[in-house]
Amino acid sequence: MADNFYNDILIDHNLHPIHLHELPCATCSNAGINPTCGDQLTLNLVVKDGLIKDGSYTGVGCAISQASTDIMLELIIGRTVEDAKHLCELFDKMIGGEITDDELEELEEAAALQNISKMPARVKCAKLGWKTLIRLLDDNS
């Protein structure tokens, strides 16, 4: 593990999440589960006319899954469904270690998770929210 893996961005999103709450007005929700630890999170979105107007998540998880999901929501709220899907692809590329510097910039704070590619045991944690998002968007488009 990289010594500085739990950097300030991850620590901050884990201890003080912005989007960890219920979302009664959600238009779609989906649950994701990480079978290695049994952690479960539910992702809620408000999608109108191809635009992600709001989003939240609930559930428990490790710092990496929680921070990753929180950062993801911060990134995609206000964007189109197509943009969000594109960012999910970029995130996958980053975890796979194949991302360019320009693409990395598009991911904004999510770039804080770049070193996860050096921690294969934790890839599933980092991807949990993003995989749940892709399924949610595919199921509702």
Binding site: M1, D3, F5, Y6, I11, D12, N14, L15, T36, C37, G38, D39, V60, G61, C62, A63, I64, Q66, M119, R122, C125
Partner: protein
């Protein structure tokens, strides 16, 4: 104990400098005598055993059957016919469920399983119950992981055909009173299946003394190679059970549409067997016997107590199960307030300390205890005080590293 004469026997500690290995309940490291014995088999005794009519095949057969005798002696079984080699404890439990279970458990019968069981001693029974319309019931423990004779007597009914419980839980590390429970089960006409995966490697286990009907364990948790495990069953039970897997090496005579099956234990060992694993297990048993369980138990208890007493003094650390060191047989499962167990394990990993995090294949138990997941340190005799010191030193830093008190 500071002079640790055991680590030099384990090449991993030479290859992987600075490693503190505290995941022994998941699998143990392998000493030279085990590795060398398995290599010697493949170098000079390898042939397909049990069938060949030439010298080398006889050597392979002898090596395999000598390993069976070593296992018989190790757990005090009456006969080699009661020792079946499998891949691991999980396969042994599946064998019992598929063979004994499907022939003897029917609609409305009850199967009683301890709530702390590893998934491997739960799912085969859960599937069997669903398939047969049998009822799966749970024996519940208190928050310290203790099961009582009274609760067992209450949970058993005239319909309870089988009771499945581990001798040592892989989460609590507490020793269950198997002999007492076997007596209670037998008075009720119920058979007892004992999972010895966490006990057989760490204490003297005698199947006749425990009076269990079945005992299972894995070689890889007791210094042997992966892929070799054991099923012990009472001969009269195994004799009546149908085969589990069908194929080569387990037949007596085969025609176009029927077959008679080989004698015990070969009836349950279809296909070419794992001789390399079996001779490795034999070498592991010899190595363990050369140290002796008196010494192994003494070392592991001393280290457990040292770790336990230190952990009790660290704020925000919660030990699961018994709040006494004596209630932990080399296994201490814990949580740290505000820190997910995966993150705990990652902090330890950054210090080259291997511990387990997650649900330890015991999700119903975590639900019963109302916790999501936990972290676990588990010891073996080749650990030492320095390992425990590095473990507790790191444990003290976990919350700070996760941003608390910054």
């Amino acid at each position: 104990m500071s002079d640790n004469r055991f680590k030099k026997d384990f090449p991993v500690f030479n290859e992987y400098k600075n490693l503190v290995y505290l995941d022994n309940a998941a699998t143990t490291q392998k000493p030279y005598p085990v590795l060398e014995r398995a290599a010697k088999y493949y170098k000079s005794e390898n042939a397909n055993p049990l069938r060949g009519l030439y010298d080398l095949s006889v050597k392979a057969t002898d090596a395999y059957e000598n390993a069976r005798e070593a296992v018989r002696n190790f757990i005090g079984a009456n006969s080699k016919r009661e020792i079946v080699f499998t891949r691991n404890a999980t396969e042994s439990l599946n064998l019992i469920a598929y063979s004994f279970g499907r022939a003897n458990i029917g609609h409305g019968d009850e199967i009683l399983v301890a709530i702390s069981e590893h998934h491997s001693n739960l799912l085969p029974w859960q599937q069997l119950a669903r398939e047969k319309g049998a009822v799966l019931k749970f024996l519940e423990c208190d928050e310290h992981g203790q099961y009582t004779a009274q609760a067992l007597e209450k949970a058993l009914t005239p319909k309870t055909k089988l009771f499945a419980i581990a001798q040592v839980s892989n989460v609590f590390g507490r020793v269950n009173p198997i002999k007492e429970f076997a007596d209670i089960a037998h008075k009720n006409g119920t058979l007892i299946v004992c999972d010895g995966a966490q006990s057989v490697p760490h204490m003297a286990v005698d199947v006749k003394e425990l009076d269990v009907d079945f005992l299972v364990f894995s070689g890889h948790k007791m210094l042997a190679p992966m892929g070799i495990g054991v099923l012990y069953g009472r001969e009269e039970l195994l004799e009546k059970m149908p085969p589990f897997l069908y194929g080569g090496e387990m037949i007596e005579y085969v025609t176009r549409d029927s077959a008679t099956f080989a004698e015990l234990p070969h009836k349950f060992e279809a296909g070419t067997v794992n001789v390399g694993g079996a001779v490795g297990l034999h070498a592991a048993i010899d190595y363990i016997s050369s140290i002796g369980f008196d010494e192994i138990v003494r070392r592991e208890r001393q280290l457990t107590e040292l770790a336990f007493e230190q952990m009790k003094t660290i704020p925000h650390v919660n030990i699961i199960g018994s709040q006494e060191a004596a209630g932990h047989e080399g296994i201490i499962t814990f949580t740290v307030d505000g820190v997910h167990p995966h993150d705990i394990a990652a902090v330890f990993d950054s210090e080259n300390i291997a511990i387990r995090a997650g649900h330890h294949c015991a999700q119903p138990l975590h639900q019963h205890l109302n916790i999501q997941s936990s972290a676990r340190m588990s010891l073996a005799f080749y650990n030492d005080e320095e390992d425990v010191r590095r473990f507790t030193d790191t444990l003290k830093t976990v919350r700070e590293k996760m941003g608390y008190g910054r």
